[in-house]
C-alpha cells in the first residue's frame, strides 16, 4: 500500500468516526446524551426519576428509565450497524 493510499484510508476512517460521533448524540427531554457503550452500560443502573448528567454537564431527570434505555439501545444498535457496513466498504477498497 502506498503512502497516499494509507493516508486515504486514515482519512476515510476518520470521516466515518466523525459520522458516528455526531449520529450517536441524541436529545432526550431536552438533554443531550451519547449512545455509546459507556452510556448503555450506565443506563442499566438508572431507575425512574433518577438524575443523570448529560453531555453538556447539565443534570437532567429521567422519569421513565425503561423508555430511556429503549431509546438508547435502539440508537446504539442502529449506529453500530451503520458503522460496520461503512467500515467494511472502506477496508474493501
Amino acid at each position: 500500500m502506498s503512502s497516499k493510499q494509507r493516508f486515504k484510508l486514515k482519512r476515510d476512517l476518520l470521516l466515518l468516526e466523525q459520522r458516528v460521533k455526531s449520529q450517536e448524540v441524541f436529545v432526550y427531554n431536552g438533554s443531550m446524551h451519547r449512545a455509546d457503550a459507556t452510556t448503555v452500560a450506565y443506563a442499566q443502573t438508572i431507575q425512574d426519576n433518577m438524575i443523570i448528567i448529560d453531555i453538556n454537564k447539565t443534570p437532567c431527570m429521567i422519569e421513565n428509565a425503561d423508555d430511556f434505555r429503549r431509546t438508547l439501545k435502539l440508537k446504539h444498535n442502529e449506529i453500530l450497524n451503520e458503522y460496520n457496513n461503512e467500515y467494511q466498504k472502506i477496508i474493501a477498497r
Partner: protein, 259 residues
C-alpha cells in the same frame, strides 16, 4: 403544520454580503439549496445585501463594518453583521450558519431540541492533517469557540452575550492587544469566544458545546466538484469525497466549483 408558528419558533439564519472579490451570494444560494434537501421544513432567513428568492425571508441590511480577510493576501470581508443576529432574528430559537458551512445531513436539527440557550462548536476536525483538536485563542488559555454554527435562544443572558459580542467587535483593537490576536482582521470566532467568556466570568463553557466536531476543509484543500449529495475535495494527498456537513475555508475554490 402551522407555518406561522414555526416561523416564530425556530429557524436558520444566514448572512450574505458580496464583496468586490467574492460573490458570497452564490455560495449562500447553494447553502440554502442543501439546507432545503437535508433539513426540510425549517424556515430559512437571510440577512444580506440582496433578495434571495429561495429563502423564506430576506432582511435587507446595510453593509456591515468593513473587515479584512488576510489569508492568502488582504481581501475585503463583510462578516461583522453576525453580532447583530439576536436583534435581526425573528425566531425564538435560531441557528446561524456560515454560508460556507455546507449541510449534507440533518445533525444540526438536534440543536433545536436541546434545552441549552447557546450551543457552538469547540473542537474541529481538520481533514488536511486528519486531526481533531481545540484551538487556543491568541496567546490566551481560552479555547476558541467557532461561530460557524451557532444555536441561540432568546433570553436575557443570550441578549447580554450578544451585547458583549457587539462591544468586542467595536473595541477589537483593545481585545486583540489583550489576547494577542491579529489586529488587522476581526475574527467573529474570537469576538464570540470573548463574549461567551465574559458572560461566564471566564469560567467553563462546557454547557454550550456542540458534542461533535466541526469538520473543516482548510485553505490547503480545494473543492473539485459539488453536488447535493456529496462534495469532492482535493489536497496534496489526492482526491476524496465527503458526504457529511462540512465547513469549507477555501471560499474561492468553493465558488469556482459552484459556478
Amino acid at each position: 403544520m402551522n407555518t406561522k408558528k414555526s416561523l416564530q419558533d425556530r429557524g436558520i439564519m444566514l448572512f450574505s454580503f458580496d464583496t468586490d472579490e467574492l460573490q458570497y451570494s452564490k455560495i449562500t444560494k447553494k447553502c440554502i439549496e442543501l439546507l432545503r434537501i437535508h433539513c426540510p421544513n425549517i424556515p430559512i432567513i437571510v440577512a444580506g445585501d440582496q433578495m434571495f428568492e429561495s429563502a423564506d425571508r430576506t432582511i435587507l441590511a446595510d453593509d456591515p463594518q468593513s473587515n479584512i480577510h488576510n489569508l492568502r493576501g488582504p481581501k475585503q470581508w463583510k462578516n461583522l453583521a453576525r453580532a447583530d443576529a439576536y436583534d435581526l432574528s425573528p425566531f425564538d430559537c435560531t441557528i446561524i450558519i456560515d454560508s460556507d458551512y455546507l449541510v449534507y445531513d440533518n445533525k444540526i436539527m438536534k440543536l433545536f431540541e436541546s434545552d441549552q440557550s447557546v450551543l457552538a462548536h469547540r473542537s474541529w476536525c481538520d481533514l488536511n492533517y486528519t486531526e481533531v483538536s481545540n484551538m487556543k485563542m491568541g496567546n490566551s488559555m481560552l479555547d476558541m469557540l467557532w461561530a460557524t454554527v451557532l444555536m441561540f435562544k432568546k433570553c436575557t443572558e443570550v441578549e447580554q452575550m450578544f451585547d458583549h459580542w457587539q462591544h468586542t467587535v467595536k473595541n477589537y483593537q483593545y481585545y486583540a492587544q489583550l489576547f494577542g490576536l491579529n489586529k488587522r482582521m476581526v475574527r467573529n470566532d474570537y469576538a464570540f469566544t470573548i463574549a461567551m467568556a465574559k458572560i461566564q466570568n471566564y469560567g467553563p463553557v462546557d454547557h454550550a458545546i456542540i458534542p461533535w466536531d466541526i469538520i473543516t476543509a482548510n485553505q490547503n484543500i480545494e473543492v473539485k466538484k459539488i453536488s447535493n449529495k456529496e462534495i469532492v475535495l482535493e489536497d496534496q494527498h489526492g482526491e476524496f469525497t465527503v458526504n457529511q456537513s462540512i465547513h469549507i475555508l477555501n471560499k474561492e475554490s468553493l465558488l469556482n466549483a459552484i459556478e
